[in-house]
Subunit: 408 residues, 4 copies
């Protein structure tokens, strides 16, 4: 069988699968399930093109990793065929632990179980299944392999993951603000003392990358409607969970039922394989089919929340620099109680609540981006750049979110 | 409320909703459900970017219709504001009757009920709900309005529907073979004697359009893997239907259960509103969630087919110019019976069967594309064009399909 | 004759000429000469695609102006057909006074005569020729028409000129750093109290625009090689001029000869029509053909400079934040004298010299960009924006340039 | 010095110069002169973006050749580093013999001396200068190297030259009809028995390529206005030549003067190096600066033709399937004599004349494009393809051209 497959990608033209092992990993059902998990959750409500999946993103990142390895080799950094395959596997599988609507899920059904942890568990399983062929990839992923720059390509402030997702998310949303010169950035990469550096000529492209990332946050990732839809999904799953734990009957596919009816803590997830077995059968379809059916559930709150979700009658979201006034929140809850004839403040908490979002365009101190000057010297980008933009970019932006249903 | 919404579209940049009525139609749940119906069904198995929906296509066609009206007005064809809104509504709603995986569905669950008919029924319902404001749109759609060219823009050999879908399908699949000069074609449109004509300068763009359409058929729409996946879905739904009619228990959302448990004929669909009520709740999610669960059904054939679908262990498809040899088919069926321990030839029919696909790039006689020569004369494109390509394009291509599971 | 011409533009697809008067202006030889004047002078030495002309840019700006007028009208700002045509003419002709290699020319052959002044003179001439039909356009251009926002569209911090040139220069150089969401920005424009404002939703697009402009400055407009080539052209024209004034024979087309042999001051340019008559025959061809021939001139300095230009043996350019050390410059000049066997420091000034470049991404105080908040309030963008980026963008960047031939 | 340069290209993103030798060839003045020779001559009169140069095309072809070599190696065809460099040099230099406005020039100033011959002469000169390092490249170019497929990549019915120019010409004209899937075609290339073949999956891309090429002929390369401008340039150069041979004084740069004042036959070109020395100094600038000045020449015909050229008052061009009626031509000539007060029919020949254009989209018999079927068999594309399009494409199209000035 020909395992040198070529895949059409509207973003890069073509993506080649570089080795047979990688081909087999792509074909594996753990990876294939990412076909049904959208990269940007409910963002398509605002940007109807944003239906691309984690499957597509992982393949795109694989492609860019190939280009990065080729560039670094061209500049004299030796990378063995084994290392190349390993770093490609690491990027291919870096997000394999994502569930459907990850943000919502990690706050509800698998509370306390991060997708990073699940990625690790799945890589370990795959490593067993593939007779240890993923060992080096896992070491690179966990940063326990001595050649640190390989890990940086997988996970860092300017990693291949970000290059692909900014690029891909811009492409499918149609938000040109996020367009970055990924090819130029990659061509400017180099390795000095086992660290990834960017050659001086690429400094504007890196600045643009950081700015694009910040703009994408405000324009796409933290768009009020997107926040509203995801928060509503959180509340729906919370309510569904509560009902299920209390033995109410709920339409659900078996894997969804598994997580609705059990409170799975982190330790249990690691020790009892049945949780992971259920998890790898969960995708967007399970969640969405349930929400659609729950519209007609006898529980008023569940049915009402689902109905709002389906009809996009979402929360009104306010983003503020200061935490919302507690008194205001209480007052709004009481209005909700009256308006919807609810029982108490706890029930009102499905309709009025607060949260917090954080955006670091660039984290100072967190393995800064290094610039290789023409002089041969390596400098932190904040020092190498001529302008004070980066200072503002490295300022953590915290916003407080107040969600209130529109009828209040 | 601001109803002059602007929507980001990676294909055209921005799409503006032109009027309040159209805004309300877009917001309507009949239209919003198209968000969950992929334009190209299972094509994303081959082209992972092809996840765009009928919702997005309908908006794109709305946008192009606005450009077409603007062009025609600029050339002196009077089109009233009312007519403009009506022709825009007609194109917006032209596909509203599509169900999930239309081809599969129309061959199984709603056999004999075409999506065109359902579109008509839904437009009528909407017209009632909107107090007759869709009457003109419906007349244009049905070609009962005297200004025939308006109907041609909605439905013809060079209509706005095709311009958008070729464009959009090329974009999201990444198959540049289908790229067409939609903007040039639109700028070359004109009206003579109530018929749409293309100005002579646009003749190459029209030729390119016809060729692109043919190439998209072979490279995308009739790609063997796409055919295999859709045929497999047909067989799954057939089997599920059979089991349901025989009172086997089957996991299904309520709208899917409705169509599994009943044989709805065309007349019933028109007269009993419950069928349409169920239909408008059906989308890709309902089908896919069921298939995932059915993998574990006790019926071997259903479970086996679903398992093949999920694991993309699809049929081997052969396309031939002549019908496959009947004897060969019988022999293959018998192999399947042995291999899978099946009961009889009827059961084997889920694993080995034949079908037919047809492709008319350009139908001669079916309201031919007219070219407006510089001399003022109007000519059929086949006569106006210098080359004999169009003759070959107008040759109907019929291919015979033989589907056989891979293990046989 | 059909004057509703459509022009293919790789940037926007198609550009339509909106009225007959504008068609006639486009056809006029004053405008057609812009076909032979590159927008970015010698930038094509670095970015080989950057061959686009001022002709193409002016047409692009015309196109965007049409979109802007359409948007503003759609939001309720009345703009008469006469005003529309006038503001379109104003943008079409805003750069008509540019000569070949404008920067070089304005520092040498037409010293003290700005292209803005020449644009004004040419518009006045055209107004006479077209019987006063340009009067309103000229008033808008000069900001003497009461509706100030129309002038702002032609010339301001976020004008149509900049939108097109950033877009077009990015496109043809291939520098994706400069890509801006021109269509989004235009769709977000509005008018409040006769001032152009941007609706709040467009704030990220405006930030991106300002950042893109700054990046294009450093990556393209002030690229060292581009500076080096243009400076060398200045020195060549200075030397040629000196020789011509001293009656040396020099190959030159008649319009170039006109400006080589005369020192035309600003007043003379206005009062004596022969200067403008010669100017409108001058384009890139005249300069480049002369430089090629002068390679073989008997004057060593002229011949040497031209030879360096043709062989791209350009200056080494250093950009510094502080003025270069005077002593260093003198030392370098002396080295040049020795190396090239020159006469004196004056001659060495062709080979070693200093200059200054300035870049304001955003000028505070200079009619700031205004944001229309959702509340209806209008705010300066620096106040409306969440981040401190704009402060750094509004910091004027001054760089000192030191040019030295490479052999020293 | 860093000779691993990267060049921004709006078409492909980035082009890398692969080796030092190739870097030195790119820097050579013979190659650099292509910066001033537009790929499409006067086509920019119709498509204002079409200003790209033969320099840019040659670099683009170099880039694609690198991709082709990589693909073939990936499929097991061994290509040594030396062969790779040689085939890259061959494609880089394949058009180095082009002069300005090649078609016009080859019909006038260097009649009988083809650009192919000049390319050969220049490669030989370069080979001497580079101490024989081009020998292998020249053998590949001349098809005297045994591995025939390398030659086919440089020159064949589906060569890298055509892939780049179709792509590039579409891009810069904005004519999307010519867009081809160059990346897909390249990925489908393979070698069987020393011949280039296309894998079966690529057959639609090849069909599309052939069709795109034909459409580009009619829409761009043989656009009536382009023909008219180039024919006018032919007549201008013919007239200028006649005057020069008759010792009239004519403004001209030295290299242009060289060819105006001499009748250089093919043999002389080969034997006397002064002709080639003059030729390598000739570019678009020389021709255009002369035409601009000749507008004021005392010879009525020269001055009149140049004036028409500058003011784009071009011929009316008629393309017909049959040769124009001789009698009609004579009658038109007589009208021209009267109208313009010309001397005789010979003079009228500048204003009224006929010519012929030929277009072979695909030449049967001329080393046909070969398809590698999945079965392993190699077939001619005409046999492998399902449709009769290719028959029509392989029909030579001959058109007769009648050029008449517009005032007649």
């Amino acid at each position: 069988m020909n395992k040198k497959k070529i895949i059409n990608d509207p973003v890069y033209g073509f993506i080649s699968i570089p080795t047979e092992l990688i081909f087999d990993l792509v074909e594996h059902r753990y990876f294939q399930r990412l076909r049904y998990i959208k990269q940007l959750g409910m963002t398509h409500l605002v940007y109807p093109g944003a239906l691309h999946t984690r499957f597509h993103h992982a393949l795109g990142a694989l492609h860019l990793m190939g280009l990065a390895v080729e560039t670094l080799r061209g500049k004299g950094t030796e990378i063995s065929a084994e290392e190349e395959e390993a770093v490609e596997i690491a990027i291919l599988l870096h997000d394999i632990g994502h569930g459907p609507f990850s943000h919502a899920l990690e706050n509800t059904l698998v509370k306390g179980v991060s997708h990073e942890m699940i990625s690790s568990l799945l890589m370990d399983r795959l490593n067993v299944e593939f007779n240890g062929q993923l060992t080096l990839a896992i070491r690179i992923f966990n940063d326990t392999y001595p050649r640190h720059f390989l890990h940086q390509l997988v996970s860092g402030q300017l990693d291949i993951d970000r290059l692909d997702y900014l690029n891909r998310d811009s492409f499918f949303t149609g938000v040109s603000e996020g367009v970055i010169s990924f090819d130029r950035i990659i061509k400017m990469l180099n390795v000095v003392d086992d660290y990834i550096v960017v050659e001086e000529k690429g400094i504007y492209s890196v600045e643009k990358f950081l700015i694009a990332r910040r703009l994408m946050y405000w324009q796409v990732y933290l768009h009020k409607t997107v926040i509203a839809a995801e928060m509503l999904l959180v509340k729906i799953l919370e309510r569904g969970r509560l009902l299920a734990l209390n033995k109410f009957e709920l339409f659900a596919t078996p894997p969804l039922a598994h997580f609705l009816q059990k409170s799975v803590v982190k330790e249990a997830f690691v020790t009892d394989p049945r949780h992971l077995d259920a998890f790898v059968n969960l995708d967007d379809t399970d969640i969405l089919s349930a929400v659609k059916v729950w519209v007609n559930h006898s529980d008023f709150i569940l049915s009402d929340l689902c109905s709002r979700f389906i009809n996009r009658n979402l929360y009104r979201v306010e983003l503020t620099n200061m935490p919302p006034d507690l008194e205001l929140t209480v007052r709004l809850k009481h209005q909700a109680i009256q308006k919807l004839d609810l029982l108490d403040e706890e029930d009102a908490g499905y309709y009025v609540f607060t949260d917090r979002v954080v955006n670091d365009a660039y984290k100072v101190g967190d393995e800064n981006i290094r610039i290789l000057l023409k002089s041969g010297e390596v400098q932190d980008i904040a020092d190498a750049s001529d302008n004070s933009n980066l200072i503002s970019l490295s300022k953590r932006v915290v916003k407080y979110v107040l969600c209130v249903i529109k009828d209040v």
